[in-house]
Symmetry: C2
Subunit: 347 residues, 2 copies
């Protein structure tokens, strides 16, 4: 652990306050960057790109070179886990396509024992990325949370109504819990490997946490997240875990209290006074609307100031409330970096 | 108003308690019903179907004949308002398609003065529907709330990221507010006509209320809803208004308190204890997951009991938390009707 406490992101996650908030952006390595698009053009197949350590590490490092965020996030995809489990994965122009698994019998097609070997290239990406980072920049590993990964595995891609995955969960809660547990256990193996390879923080993306009634939110969001957190904390007590249950709304508080995460990512709709309440017990991360960053100008300045004024007095990581939009001009990210490098006016 | 108080839905909205909750289902007239599909097949163009009073009234009445809900909801579409304003509207297999309006200059293409005449067929549908309803069944009129209608008008259809509509709202809040105001005023004209034609309750659907940060939720969800409610209450003080800000999450409480609606529709993710808190001040409606109704069986029985046990002691209208799914077997709706006709076991 020597020296890690000099990295601003890790200091904040350890509960220290700072003159300016550490920052990074969800999907900061991505299509809004011309250098990323050029790199991707070399390997049209997205899964192959993710599993080629030199390319994925280069994508991880690109935004840091340009903007100097306080953290790099591993370039990968949450669907590498289902793919490693044996589910065929491809990407069409409308998004990911998987051969859906819709009942307990389908679990037999999954091979959790393959996770470690299939995802070894990701550990290599972590190694290479860590080696390429400036001294002050932390490296964040990540995985999809079990519920969100399950939605893709059961729906076979993105969904508007989640009727297959919820249908299974409601009709056969025990059978569905077996899938959730399998994904959670695979995620523990995967994230452990990322940490061993050099990830200093991990984030769990629960992008579809906001579609469940409370009872199922307990079973399929809170419980498996707690399971993952508990297992990682047992092995790596010093590695902070950020949970991002996007859209959790009225269930955010329970997530923050019950999962054991060290920091909670707020989406764009979470009121700032609510974030401040959470900060009594936990670090918060968020929550600029990606559209505001796309728009830039006075709207960006105004909103960044409001977020900082509300949250900077507690443990706070500046981020977006959702992934950066491909239409975002890179100059707006540079403007944001400049805004965040200054102490907040009037303080 | 003579006789209205004998209708269970209106009694609940007037604050009376009941032995069993009144119920209806969002999109209860729709594709899950074979008789609806047969009726629709006669007029493939959806807008023409909505604007043919005999057909729309028949669609309105179909679910009542089969299941005897306590309310019929006018068969129409929230996008009839933009269409009446002069925006070209069609429906592809992926959803609605409109010629988008993306700045203040585009407002000149809209003709609010046409609302009353263009939407006269809807008033006729209301008349015909009301005449065809059993004595105990209330008729609900509806419109989209200004924000949700604006999302379609600016995006040109459904959206994943709302970058055009939010982009305009963030870049030029005053210009965008002019669009919101225009829609709100058109909605006042439209709903007034529905009430004059016989609608006994109106519901405002704000399906995309759950994508805005708090500041914009105030300006573009709460303010225009309040504007509509105030105008309708001035003209029709006895007509209850139900607001449904789907996905409002941590902002539900503000919506319930600040808009002036008589009842608030809860989506599927709103915890039941939160609904109970709201009931101290306002009637609540909701919030069965449409997927649970699609699944039926023990999951349906269990969940209906839990919702009733939590909410029946206050002013409560049983409904879904979102529109019924086309894949729902009609027998499951019949089973729900049967469950709701009985007093709750153990009370």
């Amino acid at each position: 652990m020597s020296g890690t406490q000099t990295k601003p992101l890790l200091r904040t996650l350890a509960g220290e306050s700072a003159a300016r908030p550490p920052w990074w952006l969800m999907r900061q390595a991505g299509r809004y960057l011309p250098e990323y698009r050029a790199l991707r053009a070399q390997t049209p197949d997205f899964v192959s790109f993710c599993l080629t350590p030199s390319l994925a590490a280069e994508a991880t490092l690109q935004p840091i070179r340009r903007f100097g965020m306080d953290a790099a996030i591993l370039f990968a995809d949450i669907l590498l886990v289902p793919q490693a489990l044996g589910q065929r994965l491809s990407f069409s122009k409308d998004g990911p396509v998987l051969e859906p698994i819709r009942d307990v019998a389908g679990l037999k097609r999954l091979h959790p024992e393959r996770i470690a070997s299939c995802l070894e290239p990701v550990s290599k990406t972590v190694c290479l990325s860590r080696a390429g980072l400036p001294e002050q920049t932390a490296l964040i590993g990540f995985a999809g949370a079990a519920w969100t990964v399950a939605t893709y595995m059961v729906e076979g891609g993105a969904s508007k109504d989640y009727r297959h995955v919820k249908g299974w969960a409601y009709r056969d809660p025990n059978g569905f819990a077996a899938l959730i547990e399998l994904i959670a256990d695979a995620t523990i193996v995967y994230l452990s490997a990322q940490i061993e390879a050099g990830a200093e923080v991990v984030q769990l993306f629960d992008s579809w946490a906001g579609v469940l009634p409370e009872a199922e939110f307990s079973c399929f969001v809170i419980e498996p997240t707690h399971r993952i957190v508990k297992a990682l904390k047992a092995r790596f007590p010093a590695v902070p875990i950020i949970g991002f249950p996007r859209g959790a709304g009225l269930l955010y508080q329970r997530y923050a209290t019950e999962t054991g995460v060290d920091a909670v990512g707020l989406d764009t709709t979470a009121p700032l006074h609510f974030g401040r309440e959470l900060q009594r017990n936990i670090a918060v991360q968020g929550n600029l609307d990606p559209v505001t960053l796309m728009v830039g100008g006075p709207a960006l300045e105004r909103t960044v100031s409001a977020i900082r004024a509300a949250l900077e007095s507690g443990p706070f990581i500046f981020n977006l409330g959702h992934g950066i939009l491909p239409q975002t001009p890179p100059e707006h990210v540079a403007a944001l970096a400049e805004l965040l490098s200054q102490p907040l006016a009037g303080r």
